[in-house]
Amino acid sequence: MKALYFAWVRERVGLPEEEIAPPPSVTTVAELVAWLRGRGENYAVAFADEHAVRAALDRRHVKPEQPIASAKEIAFFPPMTGG
């Protein structure tokens, strides 16, 4: 699946987007975050505070407990500051 990073999550990860292939044991957004955290210092820093990062699955806001199921795109970002 495709992972997108925005704002300071993007800056800390160091990438705007990438293809990721989590193992089958990763079934929820929270589990995916935990898995990403283990991929390197940059991810560990970006996802250090669980409550600071929001997620969208296939472009819809989701909670950490949301199953990833067959989503094609997941995005991580800080709380929004538009308008």
């Binding site: 969208a56 472009r59 995005a75 970002f77 709380p79 929004m80 500051t81 538009g82 308008g83």
Partner: protein
């Protein structure tokens, strides 16, 4: 309901955008416009760099406009949101709502703004006049609270 939704980098002229929204509609009693501007914060801010999530930003705005038109009898709705560099004093967002009566137009515009602030995927980075590297603008708890008040079953002006 007439509907105009646009994301763009370019600045906009609020009056020029609103005119076609209500042109020819003669049974509208109330037109509310909201322009969100880039404050210079007493001279300390030079510009904002607004990042957005293409695709999702459009989808979220469409969803919020749809929800507003379900809650209030709106005859026309406009949302324009900019991204990219926005200098102090320039407009960032324009929302306009038209309805027969003012309660619906006011409530619709406030609702749209509260949701754009908290649900549309845009992020602001500030460029300061003291040359400091940009800091990401933090989300305001007041904005979250403003959005939450619409979760009550029915709000004023709602039909």
């Amino acid at each position: 309901m007439r509907k105009i939704v646009r994301l763009q980098k370019a600045a906009f002229d609020a009056a020029a955008e609103v005119a076609p929204l209500v042109a020819g509609l003669s049974d509208i009693g109330a037109l509310v416009t909201f322009t969100g501007l880039c404050r210079d914060e007493a001279g300390s801010l030079v510009a904002l760099e607004i990042e957005h999530y293409p695709g999702m930003a459009e989808a979220e705005i469409a969803r919020v406009v749809e929800e507003a038109s379900r809650r209030w009898p709106l005859e026309a709705v406009l949302v324009i949101h900019r991204h990219g560099e926005i200098r102090a004093g320039e407009p960032i967002v324009l929302v306009a709502t038209a309805a027969k009566h003012r309660a619906a137009a006011f409530a619709g515009a406030e609702f749209l703004m509260d949701y754009l602030k908290t649900a549309a995927p845009f992020w602001k980075k500030a460029r300061r006049s003291d040359g400091r590297g940009g800091d990401w603008v933090a989300a305001r708890e007041e904005d979250e609270a403003a959005a939450r008040r619409w979760e009550r079953p029915r709000a004023r002006g709602e039909s």
